[in-house]
């Protein structure tokens, strides 16, 4: 890490790509699991469950991002794997990020 950086703190970014229909369910879960916030954008893609495109109702994906502590990120990742991986199109990955105002996350 660069020396000039004094206030930035490490947090974890968890990114979930999944069927759009899961949105409201997942958001409830995220809240319960302690996610301090989330950002969603529309997406489409291909994975083990074939092509998913958004040109038609309910058939697209969403891409959810949560910046949070490592602990919460792992809790979320474990939860979605346990509850949704088997039956829904979904992937999930973590990466390291730095934030200012770490109290926010």
């Amino acid at each position: 890490m660069n020396e000039t950086q004094t206030t930035a703190t490490r947090r974890t970014l968890i990114t979930i790509v999944c069927e759009a229909i899961l949105e409201s369910k997942l958001l409830k879960d995220l809240e319960l699991l302690g996610a301090p916030g989330w950002t969603i954008s529309e997406a489409r893609g291909r994975g083990s469950r074939g092509v998913r495109s958004s040109d038609w109702d309910n058939n697209g994906n969403i891409r959810i991002e949560v910046v949070c502590s490592r602990r919460v990120a792992e809790k979320i990742m474990g939860h979605v794997q346990a509850h949704y991986y088997a039956d829904f199109a979904m992937i999930c990955f973590l990466s390291d990020v730095e934030v200012l105002r770490s109290d926010k996350f």
Binding site: I21, K25, D55, N58, D87, F88
Partner: protein, 312 residues
Amino acid sequence: MGWDPVVLFFVFGLIAGLLRSELKLPPALYETLSILLLLAIGLHGGVELAEQASMALLWQMAAVLLMGVMLPLIAFPLLRLLRFGRVDSASIAAHYGSVSAGTFAVVVAYMLSEDIFFESYMPLFVAILEIPAIVVGIVLARGLSKNTQWRELSREILLGKSIMLLLGGLLIGVLAGKEAVGPLEPLYTSMFPLVLALFLLEMGLIASRQSGALRKVGLKLVSFALLMPWLGAAVGLTIGALIGLSVGGAAMLATLGASASYIAVPAAMRLALPEANPSLSLAASLGITFPFNILIGIPIYLQAAQWLLPGA
């Protein structure tokens, strides 16, 4: 007279899709078209309902509700016979027990263009038929398990887009009455064929995209998707006759029986029976049954109704 242009738009979309053309409608347009169709059907129904409502209607509504319970109970054993798994069978049965508002719009246009009378409150039956098959499907898969979150699920179904628009339109039509709704008339007169044509263009494109899934799942599903409409239509026709519908009304109830949901039920099944394979039901309903009804079924159901109810 030539071919029905509205049907040709469906064929156009189907061919363009199979040729893998770049052609596609913006998703917002498709959504707008389906909103307009549902509102138009509801509003028109409501306006007429206000003028012709009768006590008999309540009794008819109950019979139609019963029909919605029966249809998945017919589809389910058939699917099990064809060796589909229990949950998949239940899910597909729910799709075929419910109805397709798009197919309903086509049969409305068909009856109007053939100048055949039908009961104005038919849209009410569309709304009624959407729901019971979902419940039956879930029970077929899970039994009367306490794990099913009926509360949340029923909220989701009742407040789903298509039922809201149909019922909202109906209510507005009833409350406002024919004269006041006049300025909105273009919605179900001059604009209706155009909206329907564009809608069917997109439906053709969507149906064409099922061809891959169909090739994978094979003949069993295709045969079910071609057989079930006849059974559904027979049930619809019988019930239509029993509850005293006109020829046109009975043919429409037959069409509803023959049609399979591709909007409300897929969403409900995804949440209630997530382990069911969604591409099975969609491929059958969109790839086979919808085209079958649009291109072949509807005129046959009408003829059958005319034969069954000669005096009506």
